[in-house]
């Protein structure tokens, strides 16, 4: 918490490049949830991306340059929160590794990493949120995005909050923990393999009988929504934050506005 125990913690929203570019509504849902959780939120304008495309392509030099920029833009906040397990995991676990032998930057990266969280786990774990004020008469299923699940151990937190949404019914996806095939640049470089992975995923999602699919990462959501739409499946796709914030009036991902 911040120095003054009564002051609201200052949260820097790392909006992530995909939310910024594709789905700002997720960013606004995150702001709303964080404010309800008792935080003062700001989104520094100098942010672009966490550097994962470069990092996962083996380009360490560019990754380090981008990471330094993120550290500088966000280290003044009490917390950094991202509506994405993948980007939060990047800052939390990979930045410190990246600068492990780099003196002062090692310390700054470690400090930033320690106060960086994925949105839903931050709401439950740090803000102590146990329920949300939202209502949605839908049968939903949930995909556990890989980085959030394995790097940040996010599994029951979103389910716990979803259980408090009025009228919402959650049906489990048996392959919820299997990668959807997005994988950043993987989906372009190995597009046939990625397409097969998301085809299987789409079959599994349709078999649940749910009419809404949720997840916590835009990359996976774009991938799965793209496949479900291509197959003509009558299933909507949204980021979990939109539902928790009660912001489901606008069009779902890949649907007409």
């Amino acid at each position: 918490m911040s120095a003054n125990a009564n002051a609201r913690p200052r949260v820097g929203l790392f909006v992530t490049c995909l939310v910024d570019l594709y789905r700002p509504s997720v960013g606004f849902a995150a702001v709303k949830l964080l404010e309800r959780g008792g935080c003062a939120v700001d989104a520094p304008l100098a942010q672009t991306c966490c550097g994962q495309p470069a990092y996962n392509s083996g380009d360490r030099a560019d990754t380090a340059a981008i990471a330094k920029q993120v550290i500088e833009a966000f280290e003044g906040f009490d917390y950094v929160v991202a509506p994405s397990g993948s980007c939060a995991g990047m800052i939390r676990h990979h930045y410190p590794t990246l600068f492990a032998d780099d003196g002062d930057w090692a310390r700054r990266a470690a400090d930033l990493g320690a106060k960086t969280f994925e949105l839903v786990s931050f709401l439950t774990g740090v803000c102590g949120m146990t329920e949300v004020e939202a209502k949605l008469d839908r049968t939903v299923t949930y995909h556990d995005s890989c980085s959030g699940l394995r790097e940040l151990k996010i599994k029951e937190q979103p389910r716990r909050l979803l259980a408090t949404v009025d009228e919402l019914e959650l049906v489990e996806l048996p392959t919820a923990e299997t990668c959807c095939g997005f994988g950043g640049t993987f989906c372009i470089k190995y597009s046939d393999v990625s397409a097969e992975m998301v085809r299987r995923k789409s079959d599994d999602i349709q078999a649940t009988g749910a009419d809404l699919l949720l997840a916590g990462d835009m990359g996976c959501l774009l991938n799965m929504a793209g496949k479900l739409k291509r197959e003509g499946a009558d299933i909507q796709v949204r980021h979990v934050a939109e539902v928790l914030a009660g912001m489901t009036d606008g069009p779902a991902i890949g649907e007409e506005g």
Partner: protein, 473 residues
């Protein structure tokens, strides 16, 4: 085996279009994953056992010379011989000489990935010696003239119907002309055909899951018991194994065995755990006259002390493959070398060279499931990342890819340029997208994506632009 890893892209595409392969892979995926989960859940101390196994193996790797020397001493004491081979070529030659020494026309073989690694079968054949695989899976792919596609289930890529066809075609010469369709009948027929081969062989070659320094024994773990016949009946037993398989004591082996079986097939223990210690002694009723252990290095010792040393902890359980969404989509052959799946993606570039195997560490989404299930806690994604970094430094990715990445990175490092481009690009895409019902069915610059899925359209203005303008929802 001749590496074909540079063809990963083409081969993986082919594999996805192969209906037989896809139906075989489907069974693999669901069966092994559920079995491992049950086995891990059923043993409270499973995680602690994993830690114990990791610590043990790290200790061994830090003292590898010592344990290997110890092992050699004990094998010699028991009347056997250890042959250290630095390269695959040396290992092949050593085995050929041994076969000649024992006058072998045919050899029976138990399952051995290291024998695949040194491409033993084609070499023996070229030298007039017939190798007969006795592990059912290996036998099937030997008939099909294929390589294994999985390290514990070499023929998981074959459907029962394909096996039935193969047996029908190859067993006619033994007077078996009936076409069998039941799995059990197929197994029985293979056993009967193989029976005579065991008696005919002059040398039996097996792999080893472990080498025990304390006793000079080698251990194989199987579910068929074929290994026993392979090593007991012929004149000589030749074990081919890699240097990283050595373990100090029998007690230590039992720790690793417990995580191995659970991770591999979900069993508590494999059905057969066979120890071999030296040749037949005076007064023994059976056993081989000669006992030889061919120990292969093939670049493994170069990994010691590097950021990839953890690879040497691998106990070849196959759990990483069974849980890998890429492996289960494309099968093992697409990887183009002996070790497929995540362990192959991390290990193969070291053995066959990064130029040859560049695709393998890249063809992963870094979903992390392999590391999550690896009983030896090998940080497979991290090692794949090391390879990506090495490849990038050496300029191996295609120019087009590097250029696109550099362009993007430049933008990411210059927020003003990024914001400007984002505003224009997203504005245009948002407008177009609205006219197309919120998604694109075809984007000329992103065909790799739109070939098989739609591309959702962006909302139209970026979050940061709206935030800057004072919007709050």
């Amino acid at each position: 085996m001749q590496p074909k890893s540079h063809l990963f892209k083409e081969e993986s595409t082919k594999a996805i279009g192969d209906a037989n392969l896809q139906s075989a892979l489907k069974n693999l995926q669901t069966g092994f994953v559920a079995a491992r989960a049950r086995a891990a859940d059923g043993l409270d101390e499973f995680e602690a056992l994993r830690d114990e196994a990791v610590t043990l193996k790290d200790h061994i790797l830090a003292n590898l010379d010592f344990y290997l020397e110890r092992f050699e001493e004990k094998v010699t004491e028991a009347g056997g011989t250890v042959h250290f081979c630095a390269t695959a070529e040396e290992a092949r030659q050593t085995i050929l000489e041994l076969c000649r020494r024992y006058g072998a026309k045919s050899v029976t073989k138990g399952k051995s990935m290291v024998a695949e690694e040194v491409a033993l079968n084609p070499f023996l054949e070229a030298n007039g010696i017939e190798p007969v695989e006795t592990d059912l899976g290996e036998y099937i792919i030997q008939l099909a003239k294929e390589a294994p596609s999985h390290i514990i289930g070499p023929a998981v890529h074959k459907t029962k119907e394909q096996v039935s066809d193969l047996f029908h075609e190859h067993h006619a010469k033994y007077g078996r002309t009936e076409r069998l369709t039941e799995a059990e009948d197929l197994v029985t027929e293979a056993r009967e055909v193989l029976r005579q081969k065991y008696f005919d062989a002059d040398v039996g070659i097996t792999g080893a899951n472990f080498l025990i320094a304390e006793t000079g024994s080698t251990i194989i773990v199987t579910n068929e018991g074929n290994g026993d016949l392979t090593q007991m009946l012929p004149k000589a037993h030749v074990v081919i194994s890699a240097i990283d398989k050595v373990v100090p004591t029998l007690e230590d082996v039992s720790t690793i065995l417990r995580v191995l079986a659970r991770s591999a097939t979900g069993q508590e223990m494999s059905a057969y755990t066979t120890l071999s210690t030296g040749p037949k002694r005076e007064g023994d009723l059976d056993g081989p006259e000669g006992f030889h252990v061919v120990l292969l290095d093939n670049g493994r010792s170069d990994l010691l002390g590097t950021d990839k040393q953890d690879l040497l902890r691998c106990i070849r359980c196959g759990a990483c493959m069974n849980h890998c969404p890429v492996y289960t989509a494309v099968g093992g052959h697409a990887y183009g070398w002996v070790y497929p799946g995540p362990i192959g993606a991390a290990l193969d570039p070291h053995i066959v060279g990064l130029e040859e195997a560049r695709h393998l560490p890249n063809a992963s989404t870094f979903c992390g499931r392999c590391e999550q299930v690896c009983p030896m806690r090998i940080p497979l994604p991290k090692i794949m990342r090391h390879w990506r970094e090495e490849a990038f430094e050496r300029g191996l990715p295609p120019a087009r890819e590097r250029l696109a990445l550099k362009g993007w990175a430049w933008m990411a490092r210059h927020p003003w340029a990024y914001r400007l481009a984002a505003r224009i690009g997203i504005g245009v895409m948002g407008r177009l997208g609205r006219r197309r019902g919120g998604r694109f069915r075809d984007l000329p610059l992103a065909r790799a994506w739109t070939k098989s899925r739609d591309m959702p359209a962006p909302e139209g203005r970026t979050f940061i632009d709206r935030w800057k303008a004072g919007e709050r929802g």
